[in-house]
Amino acid sequence: MKAGTKFIIGGVLVLATVGYLMATGIKETGVYYLTPSELATRVEADRSFYDVGVKMGARVVTGSITRDVATQTIRFRATDGQHTWPVVYRGLAPDTFTDEVDVVLEGRLQSDGVFHATTLLAKCGSRYEAVPARTGTEASSS
């Protein structure tokens, strides 16, 4: 057999393995990325969607955050303007997690109607981009 042919066979083997790893990787670790109302539609249509790991992109409802530092539990409500879910998160929240901030939550909606988050990422609009305040003293926090 010519070396070129052998290389092609070897290459195809590598590609097939990687293709397999990628396909199973996506199947096993891929999660739906939904808005609160999409999540609501899904559970309404299919009750088995409770307790499935998903990512939810939402905004924190102003004033809804309560923290229990001793047990490191944070409760708040997350909304997209149409649907709102209560959220429980145990662990350390990032510094950028404040009222009205956009968050990406990873976790599951349980049948009690509470979203149990295992990871919490805060996406802050002002993280690297800032809007100057009208007066120098007013600190905008969005």
Partner: protein, 674 residues
């Protein structure tokens, strides 16, 4: 100042347009006067962009808050050191930074190759001017750094505290330098395709440029990891975030190119492939810019969403279509001059190396874009995270590490059994002994065992090369050991620099493998209370909470929590983690509070402590204590990598030797066989 900046940008746009057109015309007609005009346009554009940059710099330093950009990113109490970094902290300033750096590289490339490559240079100038003009156009029409605010705020908003870190002052420019400098090799590749001068001339011209781009990208990526580690406070340095991936992809394709180009130089193979890699690297660097600026893919560190992204997408599509169409047009003349003769040869090792680099790039690309693709195809957004990337890339990475050891030592064309025995006996022995030893010691992670064993394999191959080369010089010229090593490296910079890079890579892999043994503990402690954590090496660390102190410092208010740390009962020091609330010049809080991590690093493991907050304002503190084994190896591996890159690209002082098939320089092995 704003007017000067604005006018400079507009004139640069016009001259850029003229220069691009005239440069293409010069390439076609071979008229020297047109070529000269194109060259001068390049220098003029550089001068104008330098003027605009100086104007922005002056506005930043003078706190001219009537300019929107200045007001958005600086404040009166921002340290001068960081005022400088505000130049590229935001979208608009970073575009100007891109443009001035690209113009500098371009002008340098034109200046250095004056009188050489006469058929290529007009096209090179044209391509570079088109890219620069694109950036200037984006600034002028969509994202002008000199835009006025319309009112004069008393103070600016200040720089995000997370960007107030020394790593952040050098990381973005390094990465930008890497991204941007790829434009020069790309311009040469396109020029070669357009002009049809597809001999090795263009490769020779860009050889050092490609190593330089690669070096900047490497340093930029590692510094980014370091910044994420010390500043973001989540305990790791790589999260497979889209923006991180965007910086990794061109690095992967450039690394692939640096290897495959050797095959073209020595054997005249892979011509199409190499052109494709350069084009691909450039497109990926633009793609990275597109991802960070468009908001198409959500990432923790993207710029705010803006329409600037769409300019980049348009440019990306145009550049991609045009350059691949050119490649297709020249396809017939790019036939290989030799064929692969054996699977046990350096050519085959390099081909596999390239295949794996490309496959990794593809998997990263796929994983990064999967949310967008799945939404487009199936209507629901599905995201993949670190588990996906790790599952695919750990095996591929280890395969690559294996080839890192094989590639440089195996013979060209076809390796004999004698050659294999001579080169690989000790490395394989070292690998097997290490693997067996770690298995006996019950290391729990199979991938980590493989990584450490392969690390030893590669290290022994490199050590063997250094020892044999030094011995040969010592015998042949009677040089002392030290002199022999220095001359050995100095006379074969590309080869031994490459070995040093490989050692740096090995160190990085050792660091990555260490993360398999990371441990996390969260505790709440009252002052005087103690907690114990077991490290992966079996040490017991004891932490005693000292209390929380509060004070003002520079432009911030600090709450600092301290822990006394004991290792196996022996006191080793205090570790202090802070929560910082930044203030504006009126003493009002700005931005969200940020965390300053306490890190104690040594060769074996890092103690990484985050003060997460106090319980209802008392001195009772919540901590996250992370033990990260072998992180030190990542940072020092990065330095070794950079050192190797520098050795490889260091000028020899001689005129560049023409690139021919040089059997005598094809390595130690080939010399034995030739």
């Amino acid at each position: 100042m704003t007017d000067i900046g604005n006018i400079a940008l507009w004139i640069a746009l016009l001259i850029g347009l003229w220069g691009s057109a005239v440069a293409f015309a010069a390439g076609r007609s071979r008229r020297a006067d047109l070529a000269l005009s194109a060259e001068r346009s390049m220098f003029a554009v550089w001068g104008l962009l330098a003027l605009a940059s100086a104007a922005l710099m002056k506005a930043l330093l003078a706190h001219d808050f009537s300019i929107e950009y200045v007001a958005a990113y600086t404040s009166r109490n921002l340290p001068v050191f960081y005022t400088w970094s505000a130049f590229y902290a935001g979208q608009k300033g970073s575009l100007l930074f891109w443009a001035i750096v690209l113009a500098t590289f371009s002008a340098a490339a034109v200046l250095m190759n004056r009188g050489r490559y006469r058929e290529l240079m007009p096209y090179v100038t044209a391509v570079l001017l088109v890219i620069i003009t694109f950036f200037v156009a984006v600034m002028v029409f969509a994202s002008n750094p000199f835009e006025k605010l319309g009112f004069l705020p008393q103070d600016g908003r200040g720089l995000n505290p997370q960007l107030q870190n020394p790593g952040m002052v050098i990381h973005p420019p390094m990465l930008y330098l890497g991204y941007i400098s790829i434009a020069v090799p790309f311009a040469f590749a396109v020029a070669a395709l357009v002009s049809g001068k597809l001999d090795t001339g263009w490769l020779q011209a860009i050889r050092r440029w490609t190593i330089m781009s690669w070096l900047f990208l490497s340093v930029g990526v590692v510094l980014g990891m370091w910044w994420a580690y010390v500043e973001l406070g989540w305990g790791g340095y790589w999260a497979w975030d889209p923006v991180e991936n965007a910086s990794l992809m061109p690095w992967l394709t450039m690394t692939a190119f640096l290897h495959s180009v050797m095959i073209q130089e020595k054997r005249g193979m892979l011509k199409k492939w190499n052109l494709g890699l350069i084009i691909g690297s450039f497109l990926l660097s633009i793609f990275g810019t597109f991802i960070t600026r468009s908001g198409v893919i959500s990432s923790v560190h993207s710029f705010a969403q803006s329409n600037v992204g769409w300019f980049f997408l348009g440019f990306l599509v145009l550049a991609g279509v045009a350059s691949f169409a050119l490649l297709a047009y020249r396809w017939p003349v790019l036939a290989a001059e030799a064929r692969l003769e054996s699977m046990v040869s350096r050519e085959a090792a390099f081909l596999f190396n390239n295949l794996i680099f490309l496959v990794i790039t593809f998997s990263v690309f796929w994983g990064t874009l999967f949310p967008v693709l799945s939404e487009a195809v199936r209507g629901t957004k599905v995201t993949v995270g670190p588990p996906f990337f790790n599952q695919v890339n750990i095996p591929l990475g280890l395969l690559l590490l294996f080839l890192t050891g094989v590639g440089p030592l195996i013979a060209w064309r076809q390796a004999s059994t004698a050659n294999l025995r001579r080169q690989f006996l000790w490395p394989v022995a070292g690998m097997l002994v290490t693997g067996a030893l770690l298995a006996v010691l019950r290391m729990s992670d199979v991938w980590a065992i493989a990584a450490f064993a392969l690390a030893v394999f590669v290290t022994v191959t490199v050590a063997q090369e250094f020892v044999r080369g030094t011995l040969a010089r010592h015998r042949q010229y009677g040089e002392g050991w030290l002199l022999a090593v220095v001359r050995l490296v100095g006379r074969n910079r590309r080869r031994y620099g490459g070995y040093v890079v490989h050692l740096g890579m090995v160190m990085l892999f050792v660091g990555f493998a260490g993360m398999a043994f990371k441990s996390d503990t969260e505790v709440t402690l009252k002052p005087g209370q103690t907690t114990e954590v077991r490290s992966p090496y079996g040490h017991v660390y004891r932490f005693t909470h000292q209390g929380i102190s509060q004070y003002e410092q520079l432009n911030r208010f600090v709450s600092a929590a301290s822990l006394d740390v004991y290792r196996d009962g022996k006191y080793i020091g205090v570790m202090k983690s802070e929560k910082r609330q930044h203030m504006d010049s009126m003493g009002q809080p700005t931005f969200e509070p940020s965390t300053e991590v306490a890190i104690r690093s040594d060769v074996r493991e890092d103690l990484y402590i985050i003060f997460a907050g106090s319980v209802q304002g008392t001195e009772e503190a919540v901590y996250r204590i992370t033990i990260n084994p072998l992180v030190w190896w990542v940072w020092y591996g990065g330095m070794v990598l950079a050192l190797g890159g520098l050795i490889s690209m260091w000028p020899t002082g001689r005129a560049p030797t023409p690139v021919k098939r040089r059997a005598d320089q094809a390595g130690y092995v080939a010399r034995v066989e030739a």
